[in-house]
Amino acid sequence: MTAPAARRSLPILREGTSAYLKVDPDGFRAYVRDNKQRALTPRLMSAREAVERFVADGDYLAYECNYLMRGPNELVHEIIRQEKKQLWAAGKFTYVDVALLVDAGCVSRADCGFFLSSPPIDRALREGRLEVFEYSNVIMTTRLQAGAMGIPFLPVRSFGGTDGFDHSGAKLITDPYTGDPITIVPALNPDVAIIHVHQADVYGNARVFGTGISDVESALASRKVIISAEEIIETDDIRAKPGATSIPYYAVDAVVHSPHGSYPGTCPGYYGSDPEVVFEIFRAIMTDQVQAYLDKWVRPFATFAEMLNERVGAAKLEAMTAREVAKDGYSA
């Protein structure tokens, strides 16, 4: 080892000044070592049990896609039902979700990529019940990607020069290779991720068909991972097409069988959305009637299946499935 001693240093040209989830790759590794199951032990459980065991008050929560499109909606309902508190939400590529969770009393901090500006958000900000930190959709998924790589930060070619940068955890440094300024953003390792997928086995080997935002990155970056799946399939089926596996079992803590789990949204290739109920949630948020929505769709039911059964009905669910006609590509 004869390299010369360092003579140089890299100036930090600019730094965002907002709070961000602590960056701790070694702490994450130690958590993985001590808590993640590398054994092939079944981890199938109910949504209730999964949320009780793996979502704690104060957790940083990542969810994949959003309430209207392959959202983990059974798990979102269960978080609301269990009245989790002080969650910090990864508000990337989200729409109604942040407002819903804020008004339900679950979320008090949000990293913003995009979410629907609306009366519940405005009230919460005014009343000091919500803090927002500024990013963008891609910067948030980049942070998750860094988290999924086990590294403390990633360089990016966007975000520099924005006011979001100043209200974030980003830094502008001098790239030691080119001498040019380069933005770096802190890795994000959420405490818990909730992810809805098309298929999974009981160990958590999971398949997503179609596009996504950052399903794989969220699963690998998060300390605790709950997968909800439309279908539970045999591990032999997983093994027959290993190229179709998106998420490996060792990243996953709980698997929930959740047919129609994205209702009222779509699970692409499996079923379309329920447009009138999609519009109902949108309208509830824009008219500040989230509590009424929760009293109708979430709180009266012990489980999501009970809600689907009593409030939606088999005929409507079948119609949503029939309406999903663009099916090419949604299979292993």
Binding site: G113, S136, V138, V156, T211, T266
Partner: protein
């Protein structure tokens, strides 16, 4: 092509952007709605080998039209028969690599240097009003070679300095400001399109370059809180055609979610277009 008898202002803006769409170029359309419809309109009528990419990493789909309500991304009809299904990260990375020629965005507020605000009106953290945030627009505005912005022609939308830079234009307008902030070289705002006008940039400052026939330059300037530069010769924008409107109304924005949202209607009175 047939002269159109009546159309909305939002339809004018989409048709104007459609005319900018070039064969053999890639378009990264922010979210869904106006940007996506504009690119699809241009592709289907004028530039069949223009390709588009969405925030969820869909490369060159052949969407099954019409879209489901609110579902211009991720949903199966929207991503149908793409060449590749990726993720938000793959879309962002392909843009960082320089594969995206044009970014198409809509926005709340734009300033003299093309900076975009979609986060906050008023003093940030104060008593102003919060909006949705940049979404994908920040990366599009940073990494595509040229950015096309769609907005309405309203005083409060054209300002000297935006209250909050959500997505970067030319920043403070000095040469190299983007590069000093770590953004890729030779990128930036290219056009702003409203229902009344089209703008380009001269020395990184917004410049009025074209107007629709039924609006004067003075009327446009009256709807700019901060006055842009004016090109020596302000060109006249072609009004929408019946063919364009037919496609827009029957296949793209079939529920009028986008086109009904704002603005007046324009009608042909036998001699000229008039604004209702």
């Amino acid at each position: 092509m047939t002269r159109a008898e009546a159309f909305s202002e939002r339809e004018v803006a989409m048709c104007t952007v459609a005319h900018l769409v070039e064969n053999g170029r890639t378009y990264w359309a922010a979210g869904g709605g106006t940007p996506l419809y504009s690119v699809l309109l241009g592709q289907k009528l004028y530039a069949p080998d223009a390709q588009y990419i969405t925030e969820d990493g869909v490369v060159a789909p052949e969407p099954l039209l019409p879209f489901e309500p609110m579902m211009t991304m991720v949903a199966s009809r929207a991503v149908h028969h793409a060449l590749l299904w990726g993720t938000m990260n793959s879309a962002g990375l392909h843009a960082q690599l320089g594969h995206m020629d044009y970014g198409v965005l809509n926005t709340l507020q734009v300033d003299q240097h093309g900076n975009i605000n979609s986060t906050f009106l008023g003093e940030y953290g104060g008593s102003g009003r919060r909006f949705g945030g940049p979404g994908g627009a920040d990366t599009i505005a940073a990494c595509c070679w040229r950015t096309i912005l769609i907005t309405d022609q309203e005083r409060r939308k054209f300002v000297k300095e935006v209250d909050f830079i959500s997505s970067p234009g030319f920043l403070d307008g000095t040469p190299g400001a983007r590069e000093r902030a770590g953004l890729p070289r030779d990128t930036g705002p290219w056009r702003v399109v409203t229902p009344w006008a089209m703008y380009d940039y001269e020395d990184r400052r917004l410049r009025l370059m074209a107007r629709v026939p039924w609006v004067t330059v003075d009327e446009i300037l009256a709807e700019c809180e901060w006055k842009p530069l004016i090109a020596p010769e302000v060109q006249v924008i072609e009004p929408p055609t019946e063919e364009e409107l037919h496609l827009l109304r029957t296949e793209l924005d079939v529920r009028g979610q986008t086109t009904d949202a704002a603005g007046s209607w324009i009608t042909w009175d036998g001699e000229k277009y008039v604004r209702a």
